[in-house]
């Protein structure tokens, strides 16, 4: 009796092991209904993502797409443990600054063949975003979902009250600094600009505008301590020194975007991704406008974008690849654009995005910026060295250290991280 029970148990266990080991069939779904999961972080884009999943299911009745939403603070730790434990979503969002460990670690499905078989034309996507995810191994790990460039959001009401002209298209760094100063009204509790410690929406842009770089061309050392890059950092520390911005402490307590929505700051340099949030705020919608970034030695903005990628451990690689192509394709881009939540990466859909928010008449500056956009620096374990910025740059923003000294110390720390790669 006992023996038979044990034998049965052993047989069941072995069968389970075998099942776990056997590679999933790569054949596309025939009639077998299949469910795949789509991992995203929570935010304004969720309704559009649900609509994309629904549209995909309509085209592929045998495939169900389940949205898996995680709050931003848990997204990356959840993804990491999921990938290591074999339970990551089949398809999920990836950021350029996080992709490398996943690609190098073999966690992402190689989509090269699937994409070429399906006849996807990579020319439909911004080259700068594709480059961000290129690991130099000839493999394609995902397709761009959206992209973002930076511009200056500004509050017309504060400009009017201070009697200051709206920014011109070709305004310079000097114009920007003077405008910020003129708009600041300490008594009314209004600042001309928000100068937070923000790499993507902030100081990377001015570093490139000054002719500098964050990381050297060969990707092995930091270049953030070059004279040009230091000028780009000084752009921000000068604004702080002028008293034209809330202090870093105030911006830590209440984020720059919130302060902008509250009408506490007149100008906020950041990405297209705020457009819908600002548009949906009825109180300030009529006052919000957007201008191109000021011109330094030259025009420049960093650009980045989310990619849809598939998990290498997925049980349904064919379906996952199919969904990646759909979610980054023309139909999905249209859905995203109409929602206004984000600028789709797919060529020719940005007009739809602009039309979704007709009262914002200058949204084209984000699309125009692609002409002078440079890829976001993401060499090595970018999430790690970017996470160190507060340790090294805070002193410069607070005026306790020179921009040059802070940049030098930060550069050493970045180079150390790059050396581990």
């Amino acid at each position: 009796m006992h023996k038979r029970w044990l034998v049965t148990a052993a047989a069941v266990a072995t069968a389970g092991l075998l099942a776990a080991c056997s590679t999933p069939s790569a054949e596309p779904a025939s009639d077998e209904p299949v469910t795949i999961t789509y991992g995203i972080w929570a935010g304004t884009q969720t309704p559009a993502m649900q609509a994309i999943a629904d549209a995909f299911e309509e085209e592929n009745p045998t495939i169900t797409v389940e949205l898996q939403e995680l709050p931003w603070p848990q997204y990356w730790s959840g993804l990491q443990t999921g990938a290591a434990g074999g339970t990551a979503p089949d398809v999920f969002w990836m950021l350029a600054q996080n992709v490398r460990p996943y690609a190098v670690g073999g966690q992402l499905l190689d989509l090269t063949d699937a994409v070429s078989e399906a006849g996807v034309d990579l020319a439909d996507y911004p080259q700068a975003v594709l480059d961000l995810y290129d690991q130099g191994d000839g493999k394609l790990y995902g397709l761009p979902k959206d992209f973002d460039t930076n511009a200056v959001w500004f509050n017309k009401a504060i400009f009017d009250a201070a009697g200051v002209d709206y920014p011109a298209d070709d305004w310079t760094w000097e114009d920007f600094r003077a405008t910020a100063k003129a708009l600041t009204n300490a008594e009314a509790g209004v600042w001309g600009v928000a100068a937070p410690l923000d790499y993507q929406g902030g100081y990377y842009n001015t570093i490139f505008q000054a002719g500098g770089q964050v990381i050297s061309d060969d990707g092995t050392t930091a270049a953030i301590d070059s004279p040009e890059a230091i000028e780009g950092i000084k752009f921000w520390t000068d604004l702080q020194a002028d008293g034209s911005s809330p202090t870093l402490q105030q911006l830590s307590d209440t984020e720059a975007e919130t302060q902008f929505e509250q009408g506490k700051v007149a100008m906020y340099m950041s990405g297209a991704y705020w457009a819908l949030k600002l548009y949906d705020n009825a109180e300030i919608r009529a006052n919000v406008d957007v201008a191109p970034l000021p011109v330094g030695e030259k025009r420049a903005t960093v650009t980045s974008g989310i990619e849809n990628v598939a998990y290498a451990g997925t049980k349904h690689p064919a379906e996952a690849a199919k969904f990646v192509m759909f979610a980054s394709g023309a139909d999905a881009a249209q859905i995203q654009a109409e929602s206004g939540a984000v600028l789709p990466a797919f060529e020719g859909t940005s007009q739809i995005w602009m039309d979704a928010m007709p009262e914002f008449t200058n949204l084209h500056v984000f699309v125009d910026a692609l002409e002078y956009a440079v890829p976001l620096p993401v060499q090595g374990n970018a999430a790690e060295w970017q996470g160190l910025q507060a340790d090294y740059l805070t002193a410069a923003w607070n005026g306790q250290a020179s921009a040059a000294d802070a940049a030098k110390a930060y550069a050493e720390a970045i180079t150390k991280v790059l050396a581990q790669d």
Partner: protein
């Protein structure tokens, strides 16, 4: 695991009864044993082994001796985090006298004890992330209600969650508030087990309320107080979520000076992808907690009464 459980069965039978009891005993504890081994023992062993390795985020690691330990113990950031964690722990322990007072007060209430207990317990069953968010608003330097109230009485407010001089204290306030519920339940149960005759007898002898509290309540409650102290200390050493949520983002300039040990662990494991180093932090934290707990057990002989 399976072999452990099944081996007694394969063994030749000694006596019919003995073998049967053996088998049944093992079978009955097997679910708990397997669960314990899979959920606690194995992760612990794996963490211990990894603490001597360099482990990339995906893929196998390789041994690097005590490098991780040497690196951790010479890292000023670790000592700062240890200091922050210790300060937080000491501050949170202040919540225990508070809990004793509240527990004694609730004991005095003739009706609606349960209502009070539920009210105090609510923070315990609330999502820590939600708790942290709400306190982040309350403690906001420019718009927070705390600074508004302080301004009414003429005290200038501070940036409680954006200034590293105050962040640990802000965490402790929330930590005490969150822990109060559990402490109240345990201490309340302790209070109820104190025989009422003791109070009656002592009042006949002319003792007042305060004398009763210090001569009867406190000594007889001391085992419960000790238990609560141990629990509070251990959970305070493991504090992480409040740093994560109350500071809002990694761009908070108070963060570099407000990290706790478990925050360092999170940073190593999930941001820097150094799993071996993260394991080392976990093991060192375990050792620290063991030492502190051992000291507490030694000291309890001086103040805890068991009868």
């Amino acid at each position: 695991m399976t072999s452990n459980v099944s081996s007694p069965v394969r063994r030749p039978r000694r006596t019919g009864l003995g073998a049967r009891t053996d088998w049944w005993a093992l079978a009955m504890i097997a679910p708990a044993l397997i669960g314990l081994a899979a959920l606690y023992l194995w992760p612990f062993v794996s963490t211990f082994v990894k603490s001597f390795m360099n482990v990339p985020v995906f893929g196998p690691g390789r041994f690097n001796g005590v490098d991780n330990y040497a690196k951790l113990l010479t890292d000023p950031e670790f000592w700062q985090a240890l200091g922050n964690t210790a300060l937080y722990t000491v501050l949170v322990l202040v919540g225990i006298p508070l809990a004793i007072v509240f527990a004694a007060l609730i004991q005095q209430v003739s009706r609606g004890k349960a209502v009070y207990r539920v009210l105090f317990f609510l923070p315990v069953v609330t999502l820590p992330v939600a708790v942290g968010m709400v306190w982040r608003f309350i403690l906001n330097g420019d718009f927070g209600i705390l600074n508004y109230v302080l301004s009414l009485v003429g005290i200038p407010g501070e940036y409680w969650v954006a200034d590293a001089r105050f962040t640990i204290y802000a965490f402790a306030v929330v930590g005490i508030w969150m822990g109060l519920g559990v402490n109240l339940i345990i201490l309340g149960a302790g209070l109820q087990s104190i025989p009422t005759e003791l109070y009656e007898a002592s009042s006949l002898d002319g003792a007042n309320r305060v004398q009763q509290f210090f001569s009867i309540t406190l000594p007889l409650l001391s085992p419960s107080i000790f238990f609560v102290t141990i629990l509070t200390t251990i959970s305070a050493f493991q504090m992480f979520d409040l740093v994560f949520v109350m500071l809002g983002s990694v761009n908070n300039t108070a963060l570099p000076d407000s990290k706790t040990i478990v925050y360092l662990f999170y940073d190593a494991a999930f941001v820097q992808f150094k799993q071996g180093f993260a394991a080392t932090i976990a093991i060192v934290l375990l050792v620290i907690i063991m030492i502190v707990t051992a000291i507490q057990f030694r000291l309890q002989k001086r103040w805890v009464t068991y009868d």
